[in-house]
């Protein structure tokens, strides 16, 4: 594709630097904007600029937030004795949309991965340990990915919190609701048998 317009070329270049967007898609998106009223593009550009300049991290849980303290941390309705540890703010959104959790969060910003050169010092681990040490936290729910890196991070957190009085739990691993047993992988199926729960408990699913 030859783009003769410099303005168009530059816009396509910038858009195609977004992840998963190639030159062709970028061109399609930019041409779409050109067909729309000018205000459309201005609103988009304005939303991105003000997002980037206005947004900050919650000083308590590191969730992204419009103010110093995020809505969840600031809410009086939340159970402050419960902290769910997640990798990314997208995990917060996912858990929030279940409607089954009423505690606080702590965003690590990733997981320990020697392969990618991410060590404990690159994550919000020290501030988590501090939060727990400050007291008032009854339980820490580790909700990291069910991968080797997730397990490594879980274990590192466990070691860091040795001697601190707090209950540690991890979210349940098992067969997804609605899935056929025959399509489940062996590891998941194996864990779901080893970590089976009393039959009566399976009905409850009490909100925390």
């Amino acid at each position: 594709m030859e783009i003769t317009s410099k303005l168009l070329g530059k816009a396509v270049d910038e858009v195609s630097q977004l992840p998963g967007i190639g030159k062709r898609t970028a061109l399609r998106l930019v041409l779409h904007l050109l067909r729309q009223p000018k205000a459309r593009t201005e609103k988009l550009a304005e939303a991105l600029t003000s997002l980037r300049s206005g947004i900050c991290r919650c000083r308590e849980c590191h969730n992204i937030s419009d103010s110093e303290r995020c809505e969840i941390c600031a809410s009086p309705k939340r159970d402050r004795s419960l902290i769910c540890v997640v990798e990314d703010i997208r995990d917060i959104m996912a858990i929030e949309s279940t409607g089954h959790y009423r505690g606080l969060y702590h965003v690590l910003g990733g997981k320990i991965s020697p392969m990618e050169g991410i060590g404990p010092q690159d994550l919000q681990i020290a501030s988590l340990v501090e939060r727990v040490r400050d007291g008032g936290v009854r339980e820490l729910i580790l909700a990291l990915s069910a991968t080797m890196e997730g397990d490594t991070t879980n274990f590192y957190l466990y070691k860091q919190l040795e001697g601190v009085e707090v209950e540690l739990s991890t979210i349940a691993r098992g067969i997804p609701v609605g899935d056929d047993l025959e399509y489940a992988d062996e590891v998941t199926l194996g864990r779901s048998i080893l970590q089976r729960i009393p039959f009566e408990g399976s009905f409850k699913g009490q909100d925390r």
Copy 2:
């Protein structure tokens, strides 16, 4: 997905109004921007804004252009007696990247489609007829889609140009280079037989 940050929510809303981009993808793109240096977002926003404010349509061929007259129309190397009629500026880019065309273009801005409510007056047909009437044009190559709407538009143009001295041609329809005959659809295969060309001609493919 619950987005508690208003700034983030607004940015995701704006991005997800782009075609083919849903809420989830928009969120992924916006979070990517948040992880990048601030200048990245500013450059993207700036490129989009200056594109929208700076770009215009070439007054001759209606190609998008940074100036009143596009690079192709302004080039002294182009054969001004040849005009290729296309629907969209993307078709110009596609034809330009073949490197086999040295004439000018005319962008209609679509094709006649009663179903979508697009009539001849919505397209740059009058200005094309004017360009041809002004003289100096030897041949008009119709390079519209091989659809019913494309054929309708071709026929309309043909009727509009009755009595005007200009050669009309359409781009060749046939089996794509590299394709197996058995996978070609019947209409294309039928046309490729009816509109067969002399064997010697098939080697030439002379640039126009």
